[in-house]
């Protein structure tokens, strides 16, 4: 309780400090370069000066935080990836050479590519199908809410939920995991799904697909509703059936949105960590880059060089999407 009081107290203090900063810097700026009550050239010159300085006062705290927490670490991580475990001695590309010779790293890269192939595709697919189907039924909104719900659940919580689904009991005893119960009901033999090399990756991916489908559905549903009514009516008049309308009229019009959903989920997949840590901690050949990086960060007292090198690999994989995003944003913002 005391701790919560402390937290809320700090929060109020923090907000007040921010408010004070903005108010005080603004007040000081207006005192140093007054524009009211002065005449002519002096006033307009002061106005120009304040207008040039004020944006930077407004942005300073945010830019400072971004610089410390995101910009500086990118450069520092690249630097550390070229140094030894303590970050002292320069080793050149040594960490990267080690990495590509390391079986566990190659396993992680392989698994990450599996995740990249499967999760964005299936999440987007299910999201699109559900968005299209729920638009046609009266209880569509309830269905959407329920499918959207896993978005709010933490990866770790979802891991527990699904570990329970995959729970395994020896053959002959009563299965309490629903998957094995269904398998045995159909006469199959129960399996310890998450220890089954290669295939267990897919059982972990199910969790992320389960969480992300709601995201894809919400965005694609809005895009589908944004399709102009006239194009659909024209297609109906031309005698197109439901499937033709969907694939030939609707899908092409929302390609852009599909791409955004796909890339957003791709970024998330590259960083997937919690699910693997909670389900297998990389055992049974399920290791992924983010978990391997976390592992090296603390393994044997922490190897910052190797950890940073793995982080740099994740970053390099993200860069193409980053560039694509920036180009889109620039085009859209245009002159504004």
């Amino acid at each position: 309780m005391q701790q919560l009081v402390f937290a809320i107290g700090t929060m109020i203090a923090g907000v007040l400090a921010c408010a004070f900063y903005f108010f005080a810097t603004n007040w000081i700026l207006d005192r140093i370069f007054p524009s009211k009550g002065l005449s002519g050239a002096k006033a307009s010159q002061n106005l120009r000066t304040t207008n040039a300085i004020r944006p930077w006062l407004f942005m300073l705290p945010a830019l400072l935080a971004l610089a410390i927490y995101l910009v500086y670490p990118v450069f520092e991580s690249v630097r550390l990836s070229l140094h030894d475990r303590a970050g002292q001695t320069f080793v050149g590309p040594g960490n990267f050479v080690w990495m590509f010779g390391d079986g566990e790293f190659r396993q992680s890269i392989f698994n990450n590519f599996l995740w990249l192939l499967v999760v964005p595709a299936l999440s987007t697919f299910f999201g699109l199908v559900i968005a299209a189907l729920t638009d046609r039924i009266w209880w569509g909104n309830i269905a959407k809410t329920l499918i959207f719900m896993p978005m709010a659940i933490s990866f770790v919580g979802a891991a527990v939920i699904w570990k329970f689904v995959y729970d395994y009991r020896a053959e002959g005893s009563e299965q309490i995991g629903i998957l094995n119960a269904i398998v045995t009901w159909f006469g199959g033999a129960p399996e310890a799904w998450i220890t089954l090399p290669f295939w267990n990756n897919f059982f972990l991916m199910v969790i992320l697909i389960w969480i992300q489908t709601g995201f894809a559905m919400v965005i694609l549903s809005a895009a589908l509703r944004g399709i102009p009514e006239e194009t659909l009516e024209a297609a109906v008049i031309d005698g197109a059936n439901g499937l033709q309308i969907f694939f030939k009229i609707m899908i092409p019009q929302i390609w852009g949105t599909i791409a955004v959903v796909w890339t957003t989920i791709t970024i998330l997949v590259l960083k997937v960590f919690d699910i693997v840590l909670a389900m297998t901690n990389g055992q049974w050949q399920t290791q992924v880059l983010a978990n391997l990086m976390f592992d090296w960060m603390f393994r044997g007292g922490g190897d910052f060089g190797r950890g940073a090198a793995i982080a740099v690999v994740i970053m390099v994989l993200v860069v193409p999407i980053m560039i694509w995003n920036i180009r889109n944003a620039m085009r859209e913002t245009g002159g504004h």
Binding site: T10, F22, L70, A290, V318
Partner: protein
């Protein structure tokens, strides 16, 4: 949808949506139902059978012979397996190799001349001609059909004994300030990027869009080093709540600025121009006009940030530590998965406590969440 409203396919549509909804909700439902079940029932039967009578095979330890009473020259121990509960015993035995050797009402001859009788209602009686020796009670195996039983015991246990209560408070301590503090900082920055003219604005916007996708992993090691350095320099601990609040603020700012800037840029220009004509400064315009008008966007971001900080595991274990006192709920849950892997009554109840707060936020404020998602990603298509 033209032409599709009354087609024969409608039935198929209803059915497939129903199936998909079931697929998406049943795992969570199973968790919730299981967390409310009696732990003995949970361990032996699936949650989908929670409402039906379950058959349990149980080992029962009779009371110690010290509690025996003398009756008609014989020594007697009595008791009931199903103390205070409903149920029906269908078989019993005293040997682990044949735990269901006898039916209720029968009398079993124990090895040392004692006789065990068990009734269907669970009451049992051990009778001996001589005084029973020893301090350990007789082991009795029984099979009983037990009606479904729901209880909050699992929750009581995890909240006190498993440290979930402390972690709940830790999670709140992390999430509330980490949600509120960035809002004002981001809002000022977003206003400057949306409505103030200065050189380099386009580049800054591009940088923020770029920072949106920088993986957290890039920041972990440099910041850990930085925190350790700052901690050593000032002689304070490196892992503190202040440290994690600031980290969450830094990681949340790109999304906050991006969302708010998009929203503010969409506000009508005329409002600001007429205010400026009336002599209002940028500061006044922001505080009195833009900030109140931006409430929906602020709410969207606050929900995102709260869900993200509450559900986060990585930042918490790196910057707050994994000690018993400071573990947040997600970290505690991972630990329990390791240490109590088979105890589903512990895991289900703990997991439900960790997901209940975000679920409440989700159902209460879903509108803002959807709006924020749309503002944050549809752009750029």
């Amino acid at each position: 949808m033209p032409g599709a409203t009354r087609s024969p396919l409608t039935f198929v549509v209803h059915l497939s949506v129903l199936l998909l909804v079931a697929l998406w909700t049943l795992p969570t439902a199973g968790l919730l139902i299981s967390s409310l079940r009696d732990k003995d029932q949970l361990a032996v039967s699936g949650w989908w059978t929670a409402l039906s009578t379950s058959t349990q095979n149980v080992v029962f330890r009779a009371p110690s012979p010290e509690t025996q009473t003398e009756r008609d020259g014989k020594f007697v121990l009595t008791g009931n397996f199903l103390e205070g509960q409903q149920g029906e015993v269908s078989a019993f035995g005293f040997n682990s190799r044949d735990p269901a050797a006898f039916e209720p009402g029968q009398t079993a001859e124990l090895n040392d001349g004692e006789r065990l009788t068990v009734q269907a209602d669970g009451s049992f009686e051990i009778v001996s001609d001589t005084r029973m020796e020893g301090t350990r009670g007789q082991r009795i195996f029984y099979t009983a059909a037990v009606p479904p039983r729901f209880t909050l015991d699992n929750y009581r246990e995890v909240l006190s004994a498993e440290g979930i209560g402390q972690s709940f408070i830790n999670s709140l301590t992390v999430a509330i300030p980490a949600t509120i503090i960035p809002i004002l900082v981001a809002a000022f920055c977003a206003y400057a990027l949306a409505w103030m003219k200065f050189p380099g604005r386009a580049i800054l916007i591009a940088v923020i869009v770029g920072l949106l996708v920088v993986p957290l992993q890039m920041s972990l090691i440099p910041l850990l080093k930085l925190y350790n350095g700052v901690g050593a320099f000032f002689g304070v601990p490196a892992k503190t709540y202040v440290g994690i609040w600031l980290a969450h603020m830094g990681f949340g700012l790109p999304l906050a600025i991006y969302l708010l800037r998009n929203y503010m840029a969409g506000l009508p220009k005329e409002i600001m121009e007429s205010a400026r004509v009336d002599g209002a400064s940028d500061f006044d315009i922001f505080i009195k006009i833009i900030l109140p008008l931006s409430f929906p966007a602020l709410a969207s971001f606050a929900i995102f940030q709260f869900l993200w900080t509450w559900n986060d595991l990585l930042v918490a274990i790196v910057f707050l530590g994994t000690g018993n006192e400071e573990l947040v709920l997600t970290g505690r849950l991972v630990n329990l998965l390791g240490s109590r892997g088979g105890n589903w009554e512990i895991l289900t109840a703990s997991a439900f406590i960790t997901i209940i707060v975000p679920l409440i936020v989700f159902f209460a404020l879903q509108r803002y969440l959807v709006r924020g998602l749309l503002a944050g990603s549809v752009k750029g298509g």
